[in-house]
């Protein structure tokens, strides 16, 4: 990371203010007015629309291996996703992924 201290604080402040405004939005400012259905529909998909795209390149081309696909990290990603899909349990999925990566890195 090449950000200066002041720069990092500026990002924290802007993110804090923006996040607070999002949380305060309807509760504080807009009040009890009905929202258009299409807007609620779009908002429903924000986490699932952002997170997969953020991690996909990190999984396929990890920086730790200079951007070359790495069997240990791919296996860890598959284990995380698989356990998460089956159990619907976030912590179990993290445990499966971290465990797989730990064992494979230790072996390799």
């Amino acid at each position: 990371m090449t950000f200066s201290d002041a720069h990092v604080w500026a990002i924290i402040a802007a993110l804090a203010a923006g996040t607070y405004l999002i949380r305060f939005s309807f509760l504080g400012l807009i009040g009890d007015r009905p929202l258009p259905g299409w807007l609620l529909r779009l908002l429903r998909y924000t986490p699932v629309a952002v997170m997969p795209g953020l991690v996909a390149p990190l999984i396929l081309w990890p920086q730790a291996t200079g951007g070359v696909p790495d069997p240990a990290r791919l296996a860890a990603a598959i284990a995380t996703l698989g356990v998460g899909l089956v159990t619907k349990n976030v912590l179990a999925a993290i445990g499966a992924g971290a465990g797989t990566l730990g064992v494979l890195l230790w072996l390799g």
Binding site: L15, R23, R41, R44, T46, P47, M51, N89
Partner: protein, 243 residues
């Protein structure tokens, strides 16, 4: 009061409501502690100092957005992209905010301002369920319940992050820590893939983000996320029309 709803608990005073909210939030401590630890460790490893790590956790208080911002900062993405992407992750909270208006909209402004700070995934999930079920709750009792559910979790979030930041520098390289964020996000997304629209949205996000990875400044991710949101919403609308 609808009499068809089974077992409506009687109206309760705010103090009791606060305790019940805290009871509802308490189980989430088990989820929040590992996340806080992880953010403390990863943030410190990425080069943030202790105050900055805690600044994220106390002021932003949104785990997924914090991890998103951190990852993009590690990649030296431009500030605008860091902010836009991390805030996009938090847009779901606008939905939470809207969903609570029927229940807390009549509370005084200072209470709504406080509740907005405490509007996290956990407090929303617990409170929305309770408000829907327990129609006898007064507005002050609802506010107390909400704050109880938040305050049962928040101190653990702060403390876990602090603990993670303090031990973070002691963790050696080659531990695979670079992969902590991908694993965390995959673990968050997998249980959310419960309907076809969610799966379609995640697929479009993945494919487009990979295809557009060459675009400068992480703009590919923003395009992918926007397209994925529209895909999810459109698929949902289509399925509804078919029924």
């Amino acid at each position: 009061m609808p009499s068809s709803t089974p077992v409506i608990p009687p109206a309760i005073p705010p103090r009791r409501a606060f305790l019940r909210g805290a009871q509802g939030g308490a189980p989430f401590v088990l989820v929040i502690v590992p996340f806080g630890l992880l953010f403390g460790v990863v943030g410190t490893e990425a080069g943030l100092n202790l105050a900055q790590v805690m600044g994220f956790t106390v002021l932003v208080i949104a785990g997924a957005a914090q991890f998103t911002a951190l990852q993009l900062m590690v990649d030296n993405a431009p500030t605008v992209i860091v902010l836009a992407t991390a805030l996009a992750v938090n847009l779901r909270m606008a939905m939470y905010s809207a969903a609570l208006v029927p229940y807390l909209g009549a509370a005084p402004l200072w209470q709504r301002a406080l509740a907005a700070y405490g509007l996290v995934d956990q407090s929303y999930a617990v409170s929305a369920l309770e408000f829907e079920r327990n129609t006898a709750l007064s507005v002050p009792a609802r506010f107390a319940f909400f704050m109880g559910s938040f305050l049962a979790v928040a101190p653990f979030w702060y403390a876990a992050t602090l603990a993670g930041a303090l031990v973070g520098t002691a963790i050696p390289d080659g531990f695979g820590l670079d992969f902590a964020i991908p694993i965390t996000f995959l673990a968050l997304v997998a249980p959310a893939l419960r309907t076809l629209p969610h799966v379609m949205s995640a697929l479009v996000s993945t494919v487009l983000a990979l295809a557009l990875a060459g675009l400068p400044y992480g703009t590919g991710l923003l395009v992918a996320a926007a397209a994925a949101m529209v895909t999810g919403a459109a698929t949902e609308a289509l399925l509804e029309r078919r029924q």
